[in-house]
């Protein structure tokens, strides 16, 4: 789940480990890689709930007898999602699997289409994530590292455990203000 709970006091998100077995009128799953074993596991669990499932993948194919389609790139995935959600019943659940940057890109599209946060389940796969440079607003991809150099303004950044769902990114802030670009202290 991605919603805040009373015990969860941080901006950093918590991701789904299995589809919530709640009633709904339909489920849609967006997969960055539909052939991933986790996607298969989720789809199976959803089918067991006897609710209609539509799978849309960016790459790969799920080895399941599920209604599925492959789109060519992120832009057409977004368009496809918009079409699927336009006129969709209120009790629609969306599942998204992929790296963190992909998850929050889809989350923003879904919210814009009217889905509530509690209707969206995110399944994080892989280590890639986005870093936002607070000094120049540049977004870049990183893995698990705690420090990085901004590829745009060159400031060496500390990756803070402060996450923006709107930007889908962690906050990067100057690591050493006495020597922002690591060129030696003045």
């Amino acid at each position: 789940m991605t919603s805040d709970t009373a015990s969860h006091k941080h901006s950093t998100p918590v991701y789904a480990e299995a589809p919530s077995p709640v009633p709904c009128q339909q489920r849609i799953m967006l997969a960055q890689d539909a052939s991933h074993a986790e996607v298969a596991r989720f789809v199976e669990a959803m089918q067991a709930l006897q609710q209609p499932v539509t799978l849309v993948g960016l790459t790969g194919r799920a080895p399941h007898a599920v209604q599925q389609e492959i789109v060519s790139d992120r832009a057409s995935l977004g368009q496809r999602l918009t079409v699927l959600l336009d006129d969709a019943p209120l009790c629609t659940r969306l599942h998204v699997s992929g790296d963190e940057a992909f998850l929050w890109h889809c989350h923003a599209l879904a919210q814009a289409a009217g889905l509530a946060d509690e209707q969206i389940e995110l399944i994080r796969l892989g280590q890639r994530r986005h870093l936002y440079c607070v000094h120049c607003s540049c977004l870049q991809e990183i893995a698990e590292e705690g420090e990085a150099t901004c590829q745009d303004c060159g400031v060496r950044l500390l990756v803070r455990e402060h996450f923006s769902r709107r930007l889908g990114a962690y906050m990067g802030v100057c690591l050493d203000a006495c020597d922002p670009r690591g060129e030696g202290r003045p």
Partner: protein
Amino acid sequence: MPVTLKPVETYRDDFTFRNSAEAIARFPFPFPEDSYMYSVNIEPATAGAPGSVFEHWFDIDEHYRSEMAERARVLERDPDRCLVMPHMQQAGWDAVEMLMTHLATDYPEWFELERDGERWLWRNHALDLCQRFTFGDPASLPCEPLEYITRQVQGDFAMLDQRDGNLWMDAGMITCPADWSIKFDAGMSFTQWHSPVPMAHQLGVFDRALKYLMNIQVDQPVRRLNWTLTVNPRLDTSSETFHEWGGERAQVSAENVAQRVHLRVELQFMPRLPRSNALLFGIRTYLISLEELASNPAWACRLHRVLRDLPEAIADYKGMTLYRQTVVDWLRQFDPQARAA
């Protein structure tokens, strides 16, 4: 007594900002006791003594022109410091009405408002502005309504949408924050944007504060004081510019500490915006150098004790670890007990 406005001073580069004796006398010293810990120090914002910073809802003081010039400079370089999400339009007009009405009533020598139905005329004599506009029609103002009015009022302003049992920072004019970023935090819930603050979550401070804030009624605003230290009288200590000012923390020495280090106090003021049901979160910042502050030895003595005994995690979060000892060493002269020891 009408407030006297100083000519423009600077909050950057040559830092010509200074407090007059009158400004020092009315400085909102934030410590009611000799130690500090997070608490839900929110109270009803009842009118304070004449001349005090609590007298009016929105305090205008001698630094008005300087602060508005500084805001204009920040926005020129970084226009995104003012942000209004589409569903916050009505809240923006609420803020226009609240700020203009209060300023015109409380400072008639500087601000005038004439209303004829939806046709309004606003005059700001301090900045020599005159604007006719149609209330509710954004095309009748030169910029976003929230931006238009907050370019003319001291302090930062966030507007919080109340929904789903939380408060969401969906709009704001933030050009003088104490080490945070509206561009990063926009769209976050109250719980999310406070996540970097140490210790307070464990104390349950934010849960109680959130409940309190969500139940603020129309015309029943609340306030609280918050504080930190800032090197140089710099208003824009935003995360966005941290790489430009953070290094000044390493420049504090025994020789310059009294002039360079400033106590930074935020008077946070939270009224309900009546038509939109959003909450206005005003953050009015006051700066005072240690030298100015020590003109009141009781304050200097108390600040000595607070800073000496401040828990490490809070000192770290407030960014004063590098120079805290230098400050404490200088303040010790004002603490009779410490001197005797």
